[in-house]
Amino acid sequence: MTRTVNTIIGEIPESDLEFATLEKDSGDTLIMSREWKYKGADPALVEHVGQMVRRDCWVTMKTGISLAGSAEL
């Protein structure tokens, strides 16, 4: 059974997508994002080849906030 991924151009077979994962350290947070691009051969979607069709994001809070003070970012 082919797994599909929800994108701005609909549910697309995962095999028709490629993704890149990016990481950015912003001090108190670590940001991970995954950008999905269409690479399929569906004639109806040819205009979307190479286009980013989905982006996920994870924000990891390294530390919370203490009553002893607040952090200027």
Partner: protein, 143 residues
């Protein structure tokens, strides 16, 4: 912007107006905001101005956090909510910060979280991984 515990929350804690208990505690929520929203220690209540637009599983007001009984680690009192807030099928072009607030107490502000910049999401999943409940990392710490 400034990541902070809200000053009004500090006062309200001394007035016993917030209860984080897992059983019988208040309902705390987390909402997401655009860069234009001014959130800082002076924020007193939640309002929807400059909140990210409803999209996917995100709706105005954000989502309810799962309370965990506050605990101690050494001399630090602390609490981190259970699970990581997440929304699926969302599209945000401008999402830079979040507000945790007490929905049971008139939406009074608790803390402001800064994402360290704009975090765009397109038809995807947005997750906030909350910090571990330790004396040096817990989400809310009373040292």
């Amino acid at each position: 912007m400034t990541q902070a515990l809200c000053t009004s929350f500090k006062v309200e804690m001394l007035q016993a107006q917030h209860n984080f208990a897992a059983s019988g505690g208040h309902t705390f929520k987390i909402a997401l905001f655009k860069a234009a929203k001014v959130l800082n220690a002076g924020t007193q209540t939640y309002n929807a101005t400059d909140e990210v637009a409803a999209s996917g599983t995100y709706s105005a007001g954000g989502l309810i956090l799962t309370n965990v009984d506050p605990s101690a680690d050494g001399t630090t009192g602390m609490v981190t909510f259970s699970g990581n807030p997440q929304w699926t099928g969302v599209t945000f072009t401008d999402c830079t910060q979040a507000l945790i607030y007490n929905h049971s107490q008139g939406d009074t502000a608790v803390a402001v979280l800064d994402f360290g910049g704009n975090q765009a999401v397109t038809a995807g999943t947005f997750i906030i991984n909350l910090p571990s409940a330790t004396a040096t990392t817990a989400l809310l710490r009373f040292i």
